[in-house]
């Protein structure tokens, strides 16, 4: 650790980009019940340094962007990082599992719709039912809550947890149905796809705003930098989870009023979550980007560009932003995890996605009341969420290591 001048302590911390990232750290990590300071961890930093170009050697040749590269090693930093990522078997396995889960929950509903069982009796008569109907409360007479007609169902009959396979073909619920008769598999798939859609939109929001304001604050570090800095201070002071809960609770009814007629009840809630989680996520991204921009500003090639009269905008677009990609990729990988956890948490508290929408968190909180009767209602969403979280944290770890300049090839 270097000697710090006290007056500059804050600046040094930021400039060194010592805002260590840990998964879950995005929202002050209040999800896990403990605070993860959004401040520095001295060593475990984000890959902050600009990708160092190889020294100009005797055997140098012109690189495609005007920089010289050594003849033997012409791979870009991005490709090198990708290669390093592939070497981390944990991360690759996690990525594969995640892709399978996500693809399954986006593709399978298309088929599942036609695979639905038949209702027996009830006011629906004897006809096939699709998963879109499984989400509706008013179809609860089409199934028998619990284990009838499931491929796998779970009961807690002593002495152990019992998994039942097969069953009378009342209605086709592969994983059973919840206390209202909604199909658990259908709700799981809907929940996962909503999480993923949300994560993608929040990431766009996060990266867009973070890059824009981060580079601006880093490059023009005058009053603009000062204001943006104080803004992030304010945002970091909030207990992240409480702030998004507050936003969900206060703005929820407003969003329902405004958007429900236009986009329906599910997407009006998704808009709300994008706003709440995105607003909380981007200041951290901005701080990372700002830290790296401050470093890049001191790089010789940037100075050279400036001396040769390149306009600021062009320098930022051509020289700064491409070199920020490593920071952005690492931070956004980790923030995906935060987004998915945040959505599930908000929905579990009843201020996020609401019925008829489906979410893993919502399913967990719905099921907690029926713990003794229908354990599967809690078990399946908990398992899926655990798998997703574990996969994403391994991927995040792998990506961070891959982009860390100290990792050797």
């Amino acid at each position: 650790m270097d000697i710090r001048e006290y007056g500059e302590l804050e600046e040094v911390r930021q400039a060194e980009g010592q805002v260590g990232i840990e998964p879950g750290g995005l929202y002050g990590g209040t999800y896990g019940g403990t605070y993860v300071p959004a401040t520095m961890t001295p060593n475990e930093t984000l890959a902050q340094e600009a990708p160092t170009r190889p020294e100009v050697g005797t055997q140098a040749r012109e690189g495609d962007d005007g920089f010289t590269q050594l003849a033997g090693r012409s791979s870009s930093p991005l490709a090198a990082a990708f290669r390093r990522f592939l070497r981390d078997w944990r991360a690759v396995a996690a990525l594969a599992i995640l892709i399978v889960i996500v693809a399954f929950s986006f593709i399978f509903p298309l088929f599942y719709q036609h695979m639905g069982g038949r209702t027996v009796g009830g006011n629906l008569g004897n006809r096939p039912i699709g998963p879109e109907q499984y989400h509706q409360f008013d179809f609860n007479d089409l199934s028998h809550p619990g284990m009838n007609g499931t491929i796998i169902s779970v009961t807690f009959t002593p002495p152990f947890v019992q998994f039942h396979f097969g069953g009378p073909d009342a209605a086709f619920h592969p994983l059973g149905s919840d206390s209202l008769g909604r199909d658990i598999l259908a709700r799981l798939m809907a929940g996962v796809s909503i999480s993923i859609e949300l994560a993608i939109v929040v990431e766009l929001f996060d990266v867009g705003l973070g890059l824009l304001f981060g580079t601006l604050a880093g490059w023009y570090s005058g009053w603009l930098g000062f204001i943006l800095d104080r803004f992030t201070d304010v945002m970091f002071a909030f207990p992240g989870l409480l702030l998004i809960i507050l936003m969900g609770a206060t703005l929820g009814p407003v969003f329902d009023d405004k958007f429900k007629p236009i986009v329906g009840p599910i997407y009006s809630r998704i808009f709300l979550l994008v706003l709440a989680i995105g607003l909380l996520a981007w200041p951290l991204m901005m701080r990372f980007v700002r830290g790296s921009t401050l470093q890049l500003k001191e790089q010789q090639y940037v100075e050279a560009a400036r001396v040769s009269g390149t306009p600021n905008r062009k320098i930022i677009m051509r020289h700064v932003i491409p070199n920020l990609m490593n920071v952005v990729i690492v931070a956004s990988t980790l923030s995906v995890l935060g987004t998915i956890i945040g959505e599930a948490g908000l929905s579990a508290l009843g201020v996020g996605i609401r019925p008829p929408g489906s979410s893993l968190g919502l399913m967990i909180s719905d099921g907690l009341g029926d713990l003794y009767i229908l354990p599967g209602e809690v078990l399946w969403p908990v398992l899926v969420l655990i798998i997703i979280v574990v996969c994403l944290s391994f991927i995040g770890d792998g990506v961070r290591d891959a982009f860390d300049p100290r990792t050797k090839d």
């Binding site: 710090r4 001048e5 006290y6 007056g7 500059e8 302590l9 840990e22 998964p23 879950g24 990590g29 209040t30 999800y31 896990g32 019940g33 403990t34 605070y35 993860v36 300071p37 401040t39 961890t41 001295p42 060593n43 002593p158 152990f160 947890v161 104080r230 803004f231 201070d233 304010v234 002071a237 207990p239 989870l241 409480l242 809960i245 507050l246 936003m247 609770a249 206060t250 009814p253 407003v254 956890i341 599930a344 948490g345 579990a348 508290l349 009843g350 201020v351 968190g361 967990i364 907690l368 713990l371 003794y372 809690v378 078990l379 908990v382 969420l385 655990i386 979280v389 944290s393 391994f394």
Partner: protein, 339 residues
């Protein structure tokens, strides 16, 4: 606030804070302290404004609900006047901040119109109890794990331990707690010994919440300790200490760990503030009457003043803790010099 200020602990804490600030002012010069305090005021204004404006934007349906079925326009107007909702927003914000300065967080929309301070007063001791117990056990588990991993860096033990801490650390409490409750239900159905599902007060009831918070939190300290330890272990003076013939144990504890403590202190400071609020899920799933529990209930019944009060209290604590950390950092690390 009378109740809180009436007891001895908060006064001791206040005295310690003031003493630290004075010490910092003496050692590092008043300029530093003034700068930090100015930043503090700015951040607090921002925090209160955002909290206020969110409450302001929310529809005032709780008032309608409280008004009841026999609601008449004059009654509604009276209620709005009581809660100060008929004023323009800047006036309301002024009142909000003005009352905050007097430790008055307004009246709850529900709960018979009790004051928010009264409700927080009941919750804070419980939350602090839970949070401090959880934090201590996290540190007791996390720091040794980190040291252990750092001394075996690169081995299978190290990667295994770090993977475990990464996983437990990433899992949110609203996943681990239902999982724990499932297991408890299985045990109870079999009449096997099991922990109580909810409640707070007896030692058995405390084991599960503290244990789960420890499980999800220790990973952070383990990883932080490991990285700082690795950093310190690579320093020259460690080699000197080893060369001079000190035992491995002495080097690790006396030379390396003491220097690795500085970053840990900076991490624990804000954590102290957050453990109080961070247990929203733990408290509401286990029915622990802390501020997280009250806040979660208030959210569901759109009782904004309670939520706002909780957010303001926690955010203020966080900001104060951050200032404290900077001050302590300056006092701990002698390499930091006054400009």
């Amino acid at each position: 606030m009378d109740e809180v200020l009436g007891t001895a602990t908060p006064i001791i804490i206040l005295v310690v804070i003031v003493a630290l600030i004075v010490a910092a002012a003496i050692r590092l010069g008043p300029g530093f302290v003034i700068k930090r305090m100015a930043g503090l005021v700015f951040v607090l204004l921002g925090v209160t404004f955002i909290t206020f404006i969110l409450g302001y934007l929310s529809p005032a349906s709780p008032i309608l609900l409280q008004c009841g079925e026999k609601c008449t326009p004059p009654l509604l107007a009276h209620l709005q006047q009581v809660y100060g909702l008929d004023l323009p927003w800047y006036q309301q914000y002024y009142n909000f901040v003005f009352r905050l300065l007097h430790f008055d967080l307004g009246l709850s929309y529900k709960a018979g119109g009790r004051s928010v301070v009264e409700i927080l007063n009941r919750g804070i001791p419980v939350s602090v109890q839970l949070g401090v117990m959880a934090l201590i056990s996290q540190l007791l588990l996390g720091i040794p794990a980190g040291i252990f991993a750092a001394r075996r860096a690169g081995t299978r033990v190290d990667t295994g331990l770090m993977s475990v801490s990464l996983v437990t650390f990433s899992l949110p409490t609203f996943v681990t707690i239902p999982f724990f409750q499932l297991i408890t239900v299985v045990l109870s159905l079999n009449h096997w010994p099991h922990l109580p599902l909810s409640g707070w007060g007896t030692p058995e009831q405390m084991i599960a919440p503290v244990g789960i918070l420890t499980l999800v939190g220790f990973g952070y300290y383990a990883r932080l300790t490991r990285t700082t330890m690795l950093d310190v272990l690579g320093q020259d003076y460690i080699r000197t200490a080893r060369a001079k013939g000190l035992t491995d144990r002495t080097v690790t504890i006396r030379h390396a760990f003491r220097n690795a403590l500085v970053p840990l202190v900076t991490a624990v400071g804000p954590a102290l503030a957050f453990v109080v609020s961070g247990a929203v899920f733990t408290e509401s799933f286990f029915n622990i009457p802390g501020i997280g529990f009250f806040a979660a209930n208030a959210i569901l019944s759109t009782d904004m003043p309670i939520v706002q009060g909780t957010v303001v209290v926690v955010a203020t604590t966080v900001v104060l803790m951050n200032v404290m950390v900077d001050v302590i950092y300056g006092l701990l690390d002698p390499r930091i010099k006054v400009q």
